[in-house]
C-alpha cells in the first residue's frame, strides 16, 4: 500500500518513484512530508478539494483529448484568409519552425555568455539584421509586441525630451492604440503622457499635414506614425512629417512592418529617431495573435541607448585572441538592474521569436526582401483593382498602399455581418470590419493580401464577393 504522502510515478517528475522520494526524505531528515509545510498556518490552508478533471497522464490520451478540442476550430490554411490588421499571414519557412523547436532553444530560461553562447549569437544576428532593414545601429532584444514597442518608444521620447505630449495618427491600429494608451498612464499620476490624435486626410488616408502643424508645439515629445499605416497607406510625406517634428524639437518615432523594407525606404532615411515595429511577419506563425512581437531600434547614440527598457547583447571579445563573445550591455538600467529606478520594465518577452526572425532574415537575404516586397505589393494591388471593379464596392485609396487596403461597401445593401457569414460559408475569411473603430469610413473593411495569395485565390475572393453582395 502506498503511503498517502508518497507520489505516484509520473513521466514529468524523475523523483516521483518511491525509492528516490524516500531517499530524499532520509537525507533531508524528514519523516512526514507535511513537516516541510508546517510554516504555512492552518488557517491559510484551503479546505476545499481540487477538481481538475480526470488526469491525462498517458500521452496518447492527452493527445487525443487535445486534438479533439483543437480541431473544432477552422484555420487559415484550410480557408482563404484576408484578415491582417496587426497579425499577418505570411509564409513561415520550415527551418524557422525547425529552429524554434530545437530543444536547446525552446526549453531553457535565460543563460550566460558561457553557458549559452549560441543563443546569444543568434540574438545578436537578429539585432544586426533587423538593424540593416530599418537602417539603425542600435537594436534591443524584442519586446512583447508592436504596440508595447510603441508604448516604450513614447516613454523613451518623453524621458529624452522631458515633455509629456505625443502626437499619434488617427489611422493608428486601435488595438495598438489601446496598448500605447496604457503606457501613457492617467492624468492623475505623475508621468502621465497626453495622447493627441492627428487627423487623417480622407482623400489619401495619410496624415493631414495641416492638422499636424496645428497640433505641433514645443510641448510635444514625439510624433509617431506608421509606415505603412494600419490602413495600408504608405506615408509618402514622411520626410516632411519628420522635418516638422524636428523643428519643434520632438522625436520622430516610426512604426514599420519590416517585411516592406526590401522595397520601401528605411525610416532612418526620412528622419526617424526611434523605429519600432512588428517581428511577427518575419518567420512567426499568427498563432491566433500569439505570434506577435515588437522591436525598438535607434541610432547608436548614448542619448537613446540609455533610455532603452530592453536587454540587449553586444559583441565583445574573450580572453582568447579572435574569439567572439556576446554580453549584455546597459543591464544596469533595466528593471532587473535597478527595480523601480530602471527604465520601464522588462522580463520574459519573445526571445525565441528573435531566433525565428534571425533565421528568416538570413534565409531571405537582400533579394528575398526585395522579391517579397514586390510580390506583396503586386498581389495586393491586383486584389484592390479587381475588387474596385465590382459594382458597388470601392477601394478607398487605390494607390500608394502596401499589403493592406480599405474597401468600402456603402453602396451595397447587405450588412457586413451577413456578408462575412456568407463568405465564411464558402471558406473565405474576409477582412477586418472597420465600422466600429473608424465610423467615418462608413461600411468599410480592411483587406490584407500577401505573398501567399495566388491570383486564383484573389479571383476566388472577387467572385465570392460578387455573389455575396447580391
Amino acid at each position: 500500500m502506498k503511503k498517502n504522502t508518497e507520489p505516484s510515478p509520473h513521466p514529468y517528475m524523475a523523483n516521483s518513484n518511491n525509492g528516490n522520494f524516500d531517499q530524499m526524505m532520509k537525507v533531508a531528515d524528514v519523516s512526514d512530508i507535511e513537516e516541510l509545510f508546517e510554516q504555512i498556518p492552518i488557517a491559510h490552508r484551503t479546505k476545499r478539494d481540487f477538481d481538475l478533471g480526470p488526469v491525462l497522464s498517458a500521452e496518447s490520451s492527452l493527445y487525443r483529448h487535445m486534438t479533439g478540442i483543437l480541431r473544432k476550430s477552422e484555420n487559415c490554411e484550410d480557408n482563404l484568409n484576408f484578415l491582417g490588421a496587426g497579425c499577418w499571414q505570411h509564409y513561415v519557412p520550415a527551418i524557422c519552425d525547425e529552429m524554434v523547436m530545437r530543444a536547446e532553444f525552446l526549453t531553457p530560461v535565460w543563460g550566460t555568455p558561457s553557458s549559452d553562447h549560441g543563443r546569444s549569437q543568434a540574438w545578436f544576428e537578429f539585432a544586426s539584421q533587423l538593424g540593416e532593414l530599418v537602417g539603425m545601429e542600435f537594436v534591443g532584444l524584442p519586446v512583447y509586441s508592436f504596440g508595447t514597442a510603441g508604448g516604450h518608444a513614447i516613454r523613451m521620447a518623453a524621458r529624452i525630451t522631458k515633455r509629456s505630449k505625443v502626437l499619434l495618427p488617427r489611422s493608428l491600429d486601435p488595438e495598438r492604440l489601446a496598448v500605447m494608451k496604457t503606457y501613457c498612464s492617467l492624468p492623475e499620476l505623475t508621468g502621465y503622457i497626453e495622447i493627441v490624435l492627428v487627423d487623417m486626410d480622407s482623400a489619401t488616408g495619410r496624415i493631414d499635414l495641416n492638422d499636424l502643424k496645428a497640433k505641433l508645439s514645443d510641448e510635444v515629445a514625439a510624433v509617431y506614425f506608421d509606415n505603412p499605416s494600419y490602413l495600408g497607406v504608405v506615408e509618402s510625406e514622411a520626410l516632411e512629417i519628420s522635418r516638422l517634428a524636428h523643428e519643434y524639437g520632438a522625436e520622430v518615432i516610426v512604426g514599420v512592418d519590416p517585411i516592406s523594407l526590401g522595397i520601401l525606404v528605411p525610416p532612418s532615411e526620412y528622419g526617424a529617431d526611434i523605429v519600432v515595429g512588428t517581428t511577427q511577419p518575419l518567420g512567426v506563425h499568427m498563432n491566433c495573435g500569439g505570434g506577435v512581437g515588437g522591436f525598438i531600434a535607434t541610432r547608436d547614440e548614448e542619448k537613446y541607448a540609455v533610455e532603452y527598457p530592453t536587454l540587449q547583447v553586444s559583441l565583445t571579445n574573450t580572453s582568447v585572441e579572435g574569439e567572439m563573445a556576446f554580453g549584455l550591455t546597459l543591464f544596469e538600467q533595466s528593471s532587473y538592474g535597478s527595480r523601480e529606478q530602471g527604465k520601464d520594465w522588462t522580463g520574459n518577452s519573445v526571445y525565441l521569436w528573435a531566433i525565428a526572425n534571425a533565421v528568416y532574415m538570413s534565409l531571405m537575404g537582400p533579394q528575398g526582401f526585395r522579391d517579397i516586397g514586390n510580390s506583396i505589393i503586386e498581389r495586393s494591388h491586383y486584389a484592390a483593382t479587381r475588387i474596385n471593379s465590382i459594382p458597388g464596392l470601392k477601394v478607398l485609396w487605390p494607390e500608394g498602399f502596401f499589403k493592406e487596403f480599405v474597401v468600402n461597401f456603402d453602396d451595397v445593401a447587405i450588412g457586413l455581418d451577413l456578408l462575412h457569414s456568407r463568405l465564411r460559408d464558402v471558406g473565405i475569411f474576409a477582412g477586418k470590419d472597420l465600422q466600429s473603430d473608424f465610423p467615418e469610413l462608413g461600411k468599410s473593411v480592411l483587406y490584407c493580401v500577401t505573398e501567399i495569395h495566388t491570383k486564383e485565390d484573389i479571383d476566388q475572393l472577387v467572385a465570392a464577393l460578387g455573389e455575396a453582395i447580391k
Binding site: 517528475m13 519552425d97 526571445y351 526585395r370
Partner: protein
C-alpha cells in the same frame, strides 16, 4: 560526500562565424512565388506602385546563403547553447519538463494558422481550451476570472498596476492613492511596473524572519496606499505567515492586494490566493505550468482576479453561454483596454492546459511535495561544502522550493567570486545558475532550485560539481577565475559593455567601431 565521477565534458564548438560574415553574392535561401502574368498585366511593374521618394534604393546588407547553410548555421548555434540540456537548477524560475507532445500540437495549422480576428464561430476549439484553462486556474486560486494577455510575469504585474490605476480612478481616488507597497525581496517586476504605471513605490525591508514585518507594513500604509504587490514565498523561501493580516491591513487602508504567484510551485494545492483575501494574482504559465521558456518567452503571465475587479480586466475576454458556445467579449467601459495586442500567447496557454491535465490535481500536489523536498535534500548536501552558507542562516524554518545561498566565505578565502564559480561549473556540463536579483543582500549569492523535474542523480551531480569547483578555488583559484575552459568560447571580456564607444549591438555598429573587423 559521495564520490561521483565528474563528466569529461566539452561544449560543441564549431568556431562559428556570424551569419553576416557568411555567404556569397547572389546565393538564395528562399525563392518567392513568381507573380502570375495575369497579375502583372493588371498592375504593371511593382516599382511603379511605390512613389519614387519612398522606394528603397540600395538593398539591405543581409547575408546571401543557401537554405542548408542557414540551417546548418543555426543548428551549430543551437548545439552551442547548453540550453538546459546540461543540469539547470536555475532558481526563481522553476525548471519544468516541457512535454514534447504539445509542440506537435501547436505547430499544426489548427493552432499556428489561426487569426485572432476570425469569427468566434470558427474558433470554438481554441476558445474552449482557453476557457477551460481559465476554469482550472480559478479552481487552483479561488479567483473568479483569468486573462492571458500579459506577455510574461512582469506584464501581469503591469496589468495589476494598470488595474490598480483604473480601479482607484473609477472611485475618484487615484490622485491621492498613488503609492504601491512592495517588499525588498519582491521580484523587480513589481516595483518596476508600479513605477512605470505612475505610482510611487514603497519598499519594505527584509527582516530577520525572512520577510518584512507587519509593523513595517502598518507604518507604510496610508490613505495614499493604492496597492500591495508581493510574492510569497520569495527567493528566501520562507512563507510569510502574516500574509492574511497584511491583506487585511492593506484592505483596511483602501488598497488592493496582488499576489505575484510566480513561486506557486511549492504551494500548489495547499492554498488558494483568493481565500487568503487577495484581490488578484498571477501565474507564470512558462514556469509553473510547464510552458517552454524559449530563452525568454513567448510567455504568459496569467492574471486572475476576484469578481470586483473583473470590470477592469483588459479585453477581450472569453465566455461561454448556456448552450455551451464560447464567445469573445469586448471589454466594458471600465476596462484598462490592452496591455498587449490580442488575447494572449495562445500556444503557451494550450501547452499549459495540456500540462495541467497531464498532471492532475494529485500530480500537482506530488510536484509541490517533491520540489520542496528536493530543495531540502539539496540544502543538506550544499551546506556540507566548506565556504557555502545559507541566506539568513539563523532561520531554521524549512525553505520552500528554493532559497538563496552565499559563496561569500569562499570568496573571502580565495578571491574566487560567484561569477567565477558559475562560469567554471559550465565546464562540467552544468547550466549557469541564477545569482540573485538586484540589489544583492547576500554576498556572492546563488539561488539553486531543484524542482520536481530533475533526477536525484542530476541534483547530486550539480552539487558535486559545485563542491569540486569550490575545492579548485582553494587549490587553483586561477583555474576558476579564468574559466570557462571547456566551453564554446573562453571567458568573456566585459570591460567595454557599458562604454558607448565600445558596445555594439549590431554588426554594423561593430564594423564601424572596430574597422579591423571589416577585412
Amino acid at each position: 560526500m559521495t564520490t561521483i565521477k565528474l563528466k569529461n565534458y566539452h561544449a560543441a564548438s564549431w568556431d562559428e562565424p556570424l551569419v553576416m560574415q557568411m555567404g556569397s553574392p547572389g546565393r538564395r535561401g528562399a525563392i518567392l512565388p513568381s507573380t502570375e502574368s495575369g497579375i502583372s498585366d493588371v498592375v504593371g511593374e511593382a516599382k511603379n506602385l511605390v512613389s519614387p521618394n519612398m522606394q528603397r534604393q540600395s538593398l539591405p546588407i543581409l547575408p546571401e546563403l543557401s537554405e542548408f547553410e542557414v540551417e546548418k548555421h543555426y543548428i551549430h548555434l543551437s548545439q552551442q547553447t547548453m540550453g538546459m540540456m546540461g543540469v539547470s537548477l536555475f532558481g526563481t524560475c522553476t525548471m519544468k519538463y516541457n512535454p514534447r507532445v504539445t509542440e506537435n500540437l501547436v505547430y499544426q495549422p489548427f493552432v499556428a494558422q489561426l487569426h485572432p480576428f476570425q469569427h468566434e464561430d470558427t474558433l470554438q476549439g481554441t476558445l474552449e481550451i482557453v476557457y477551460r484553462f481559465d476554469e482550472l486556474l480559478r479552481e487552483l486560486s479561488g479567483m473568479s476570472k483569468f486573462v492571458f494577455q500579459a506577455g510574461g510575469g512582469a506584464d501581469a504585474a503591469y496589468t495589476q498596476a494598470c488595474i490598480t490605476r483604473a480601479y482607484h480612478a473609477s472611485r475618484g481616488e487615484l490622485a491621492i492613492r498613488n503609492e504601491i507597497i512592495t517588499t525588498a525581496q519582491a521580484h523587480p517586476s513589481s516595483p518596476a511596473t508600479a513605477a512605470a504605471a505612475g505610482f510611487k513605490v514603497i519598499t519594505l525591508p527584509l527582516e530577520a524572519d525572512g520577510y518584512a514585518s507587519v509593523e513595517a507594513l502598518r507604518a507604510a500604509v496610508s490613505p495614499r496606499t493604492a496597492a500591495l504587490m508581493v510574492n510569497n514565498p520569495d527567493d528566501i523561501g520562507i512563507y510569510n505567515p502574516h500574509i492574511k493580516e497584511w491583506v487585511d491591513i492593506v484592505h483596511e487602508a483602501g488598497g488592493l492586494c496582488f499576489y505575484d504567484h510566480a513561486n506557486f510551485n511549492g504551494l500548489m494545492t495547499r492554498i488558494r490566493a483568493a481565500e487568503l483575501g487577495f484581490d488578484a494574482c498571477m501565474f507564470m504559465l512558462h514556469k509553473t505550468f510547464g510552458g517552454p521558456k524559449g530563452g525568454g518567452g513567448p510567455a504568459v503571465g496569467a492574471y486572475g482576479c476576484t469578481e470586483a475587479l473583473i470590470p477592469f480586466l483588459p479585453g477581450p475576454t472569453i465566455g461561454k453561454n448556456d448552450a455551451g458556445k464560447f464567445f469573445i467579449e469586448k471589454e466594458g467601459p471600465l476596462s484598462i483596454g490592452r496591455v498587449r495586442e490580442f488575447w494572449g500567447n495562445v500556444p503557451v496557454v494550450i501547452r499549459a492546459y495540456a500540462w495541467t491535465r497531464a498532471m492532475g490535481a494529485a500530480g500537482l500536489r506530488d510536484a509541490a511535495n517533491i520540489s520542496v523536498l528536493a530543495n531540502n535534500y539539496m540544502e543538506k548536501r550544499l551546506l556540507e561544502i566548506p565556504g557555502i552558507t545559507k541566506g539568513l542562516p539563523e532561520l531554521t524554518k524549512r525553505r520552500l522550493e528554493m532559497t538563496r545561498y552565499s559563496l561569500g566565505a569562499l570568496t573571502a578565502d580565495t578571491g574566487v567570486s560567484t561569477l567565477d564559480v558559475q562560469n567554471r561549473m559550465t565546464d562540467f556540463g552544468v547550466d549557469a545558475y541564477w545569482l540573485s536579483h538586484e540589489p544583492w543582500f547576500i554576498p556572492e549569492p546563488f539561488t539553486p532550485e531543484a524542482g520536481e523535474l530533475w533526477s536525484i542523480e542530476d541534483i547530486d551531480y550539480w552539487i558535486d560539481v559545485l563542491a569540486h569547483v569550490c575545492q579548485e578555488a582553494r587549490t587553483n583559484p586561477d583555474l576558476v577565475k579564468t574559466s570557462p575552459h571547456n566551453q564554446v568560447v573562453h571567458k568573456m571580456d566585459g570591460s567595454g559593455l557599458n562604454d558607448p564607444k565600445k558596445w555594439a549591438t549590431t554588426w554594423r555598429a561593430y564594423q564601424r567601431k572596430y574597422p579591423a573587423s571589416n577585412k
